[in-house]
Symmetry: C2
Subunit: 641 residues, 2 copies
């Protein structure tokens, strides 16, 4: 038996089997409902309101407040369809299209940055205009050999010239059409030179490429004029894989246990395709003119993008299928928009340190400096690199995506409606906040969470362990479903008609996340027999990283207590590195050298990491002397009180 399910406010109706799952129904309808667990039933985010009809709500109740249950809320993933339905997806359960994603430094500056780093406009894929001598009886070599000879004479070392059969079968025609003046698109890979395409006449003036960052959370695309190196358009969207789980582990499980590999591949490729098509249209460029794409992302994202089973990434000893992926054509990964384009990816280092990090190091240029730098990428995962021009060590600190909203009751990504700045009045415990888009709040994003932690700690609302001090006697402190909680925004101030709170469970999750990050670089330093004082620079990368208030991050013990001028915000270095690699073969080689040079340290089995982590589960740290600035502020605050 089938039932009709209508989703509001989209007013999309689909048919589903009796007893069908409402989460799957929303996916089938093409509506992305928030979910951190990918429909496994344990994140409590995919709330819907049943307007008419009946569902069997399963365990929904245990994730809902009494009031929510009364108002007809259910969890989509727990609910079985029992009749025709009309359901409404409330504002807070939707993945938003309107959002704020860091796309890197100002596009106009990135070319300059690349050149400062030693990059040039000599891509691994390039075009060459050939003015060939027409064949004669005395010079009657094959058409292919004529092109080879010309490329060789032009200094491209074409001994092993390759051409696929599609090219070979049009070669003779195009040579004659162009009266022996042709342009070839050439791909130089190791000792092999491959002709990717051939055009009559001089077609070297217009050529396009794309740099792509496939983040766990967001996908960013730059459309690039390869001739001049300009970024002619940028676009971004949430990674649609999000509906299958917030973090890489959930997605690996989804790929492996739920046979979702192809689905995940299609979702990410679909995002890229949509962004590329939009950019091409906006800039009036035929997508076929895009002949080169460089992609960066973490190792799991790369496996999913290429359709390679990532299963062993999450099983000890955590082995990826590949770190350096061979070049591939668009059609092989399903990029039908640009089937002939060559796709390269920034080299990965290990299962939990990917091409986004080799990109990041490339952009930071820390691998060329005498002095020691620390590179931190705080995105959905937390990766760190320590080193200089002699050596590089790297680790992933499994911070988890708490600062992106996962596991936090009102956590959300940095999009419209997210509380991004918070202040707590030291006397009244009243809260001031700023919301992205200046609208009524619907949740709290990463920078807001850091502020909340810091402000609550500095103003004695919570203790060093993150426990709420009930004794302060504020009306904002109250007991909720999951223990004590603190009200950040009252119902009347909120767009979702309920209080936005931070719970002790949330606080605990955030402290564990920040502790993991801090313990990560603590462990790397200790491994290298160094202290924070040895650091010349701390580079902070990641979309999330752009909005961090360093002082607050130091206050909660997420970043080390160093002078502010040592911190450098780089923005989205993943896409920037992909752009460097796209434009400049030397830069791609440099990234490959970086990836090979990095020593990966697996923290999940490190005793030293566990010790560092345990010590960091306090605000700012068990050893307050490691945070002299915070100690001073606290002392001053306490004197004031």
């Amino acid at each position: 038996m089938k039932h009709k399910v209508t989703f509001l406010p989209d007013n999309i109706t689909i048919e589903m089997e009796h007893d069908g799952n409402l989460f799957k129904a929303s996916k089938a309808a093409g509506i992305y409902v928030l979910s951190s667990c990918g429909g496994k039933g344990n994140c409590g985010k995919c709330k819907l309101v049943v307007k008419t009809g009946t569902v069997e709500p399963g365990q929904s109740r245990s994730y809902l407040t009494a009031e929510e249950a009364e108002r007809g809320y259910v969890l989509a993933c727990h609910s079985k369809i029992q009749s025709d339905l009309v359901v409404e997806i409330p504002h807070e359960s939707r993945m938003q299209a309107k959002h704020k994603i860091a796309t890197g430094a100002n596009p106009d500056d990135i070319l300059k940055l690349m050149k400062q780093a030693g990059g040039c406009l000599e891509s691994r894929i390039f075009r060459v205009y050939l003015d060939l001598a027409p064949p004669t009886i005395d010079d009657n070599i094959a058409d292919f050999e004529r092109v080879r000879r010309a490329l060789d004479n032009a200094g491209f070392g074409a001994e092993h010239l390759h051409m696929n059969y599609m090219m070979l079968s049009k070669l003779s025609r195009v040579l004659r059409e162009g009266h022996w003046k042709v342009t070839v698109t050439v791909f130089s890979y190791g000792e092999v030179l491959e002709v990717l395409d051939i055009y009559p006449g001089n077609a070297t003036q217009k050529r396009y490429g794309a740099a792509v960052d496939i983040g766990t959370t967001t996908v960013v695309v730059y459309l690039v004029d390869m001739k001049h190196g300009h970024i002619i358009g940028t676009a971004s969207t949430f990674n649609s894989q999000g509906k299958c789980g917030d973090d890489v582990i959930t997605r690996i499980v989804y790929a492996t246990e739920k046979n979702g590999l192809k689905e995940l591949q299609d979702l990410a490729v679909g995002n890229i395709s949509t962004l590329l098509a939009d950019l091409a249209e906006k800039n009036q460029i035929a997508p076929g003119m895009i002949d080169y794409v460089v992609v960066a992302g973490n190792t799991t994202m790369m496996h999913l993008f290429y359709g390679i089973d990532p299963q062993y990434i999450r099983e000890e000893p955590y082995i990826p299928a590949a770190t350096f992926f061979p070049p591939v054509r668009g059609k092989s990964v399903g990029l039908g928009l640009i089937p002939q384009a060559v796709i390269y990816s920034m080299p990965n280092v290990a299962s939990y340190v990917g091409g986004d990090i080799s990109s990041g190091v490339l952009v930071s240029q820390m691998h060329k400096q005498e002095k020691i730098s620390l590179f931190i990428d705080i995105g959905t995962n937390g990766e760190i690199v320590l080193g200089n021009k002699e050596w590089l060590v790297t680790a992933a600190c499994s911070a988890g995506p708490a600062f992106e909203g996962s596991g936090i009751k009102f956590g959300m990504r940095a999009m419209e409606g997210a509380i991004e700045e918070v202040e707590v009045d030291p006397k009244t415990y009243e809260v001031n906040y700023r919301v992205i888009g200046d609208v009524k709040p619907i949740g709290i994003c990463g920078s807001g969470m850091i502020d909340i932690l810091a402000e609550m700690y500095l103003n004695n609302v919570i203790d060093q362990k993150g426990k709420i001090r009930e004794e302060i006697g504020s009306k904002r402190v109250r007991r909720g479903d999951s223990g004590l909680e603190y009200v950040i925004a009252w119902r009347i101030e909120s767009a979702i008609n309920k209080e936005i709170v931070i719970t002790e469970v949330d606080l605990d999750n955030l402290i564990r996340a920040k502790a993991a990050i801090y313990a990560g670089f603590g462990t790397l330093l200790r491994k290298m027999n160094m202290t924070f004082d040895d650091l010349d620079k701390v580079y902070i990368a990641g979309g999330f990283g752009r909005y961090i208030d360093v002082e607050r991050a130091i206050t909660i013990g997420m970043l080390p207590d160093l002078p502010p001028d040592k911190f450098h915000f780089l923005g989205n270095t993943s896409i920037m590195g992909a752009y460097y690699g796209l434009l400049c073969d030397r830069m791609l080689h440099e990234a490959e050298d970086i990836a090979r040079k990095m020593t990966y340290i697996e923290l999940s089995v490190s005793r030293s990491f566990m010790d560092e982590y345990m010590s960091a589960l306090f605000l700012p740290h068990t050893n307050i002397n490691a945070f002299p600035t915070v100690k001073k502020i606290m002392a001053a605050k306490n004197r004031l009180v």
Copy 2:
């Protein structure tokens, strides 16, 4: 309106449009009717008998004897279907499956020959057994890198290891299935090493490959045990492209002007596929175990095999699209039987000197000798190579396929029913002949034609110009539709119920063919300022070449008048060379060096060639002093007469 057309004796019925062409109908029915012109209407070979029904016979009549017309013969290509038909394909109009094709030297000897030539069992594609150290936390490189490292450590220089996505996606699983003991099939191309396949455990014991000769007339396949180098089976068939034309020019026209490129490709690939499948079945080998194929053939055959338009091969200045074809997978050319197998081809030299000739030189080893050799491949085309270890010059002498039966009234290939040996009695002018298969004759094959020319000339039935001496007064001399003719076999001796004759037109065609061959090497020698006396050896190759009687060939002036011990018959060197290249990478390289080293001389525009050719249009030659042996025999004969 549609009509039913039934072909006898096959009893295959198909439907065709009113006014449809009967030649096309036979192709649609899958019946291969003899044709030299590919259905263009000018060879007169596609004779059918209309048993019931009506056709509009067009110009058929001009190609038929009065008797044939009376008996209901029509030419299939000229006939338009006017009603339901029952047609019979007479024996002489069929392409036979039962035939006699030279497949090279004795298979058991070829491995020995290759080793004598310096070959070994180190193929460009090979298998390596890898006993890998399982990954640990401290040795946690990616699976791909682990394989790369092992290959590198084993000395295979795997810096640029390549693996396509199908392989990469099964890599992790197979490594673990095999408990880190795996076998990889590796392809070494230039500086790039590619993993073609991976199997759990040790799979190095059984591996198969195939050598293929795509001749214009015949297709030959060797199935090879790559581990030991043994030829475990050979098979051959006529090239089904024959129905689209006998020679390469007709096929190029068919490919270009009739849009028949794909059809021609499918026909040759279909032949290979059928032969391979049969061999695999007979030897109980799964076709999937064949992972490497090396193909040799002339340049046009190679274009057609790869599906590359050969159009410019026949237009001055005669330029092929390619001479060195890049490696390709089976599926790319439509070899669905072995989609993953890598296909290589023996390197071509120019439009009319192909991989069959670089194969031939490789087998002859003339390119390593101090002294000068002449290599002649008399197949459907006639190619010659002159040189030694210092230099090689080559040319194609456009002899045409007369000796394979094309343009000869009763010409046919060397198959059952062909007259292959002929003697003419000097006094009675009676004829003795031997027929392949010891059956009643249906036509005359190449060696029979050489015999006829030689015997008729030696016994004064024809003069030096090939004109029949009516004055000898034999009843075998008579006037037919195309002038004077000589009866080789009487109707009662023939399986086709008519006299088998040789006409003056035939004699003229044969003399022109032999003159072109002789003029070819004459011109090359003159170019190098040499004479026949400078030749140390004359290598004769080609399936046809196996049956040539040297003495008779000298008599007609097709071969130079040299001592018999200078002539060496090599057999089908095209397939032999492909086999060398299949087994031994060094041999493939050697062939590539040979092809690069050869200087191609275009005879069709050579004044010197025209002079040589004109002089050779006599039996044996205008300059009888160049043929002292023939002169002596003639003198002796004339004394006897």
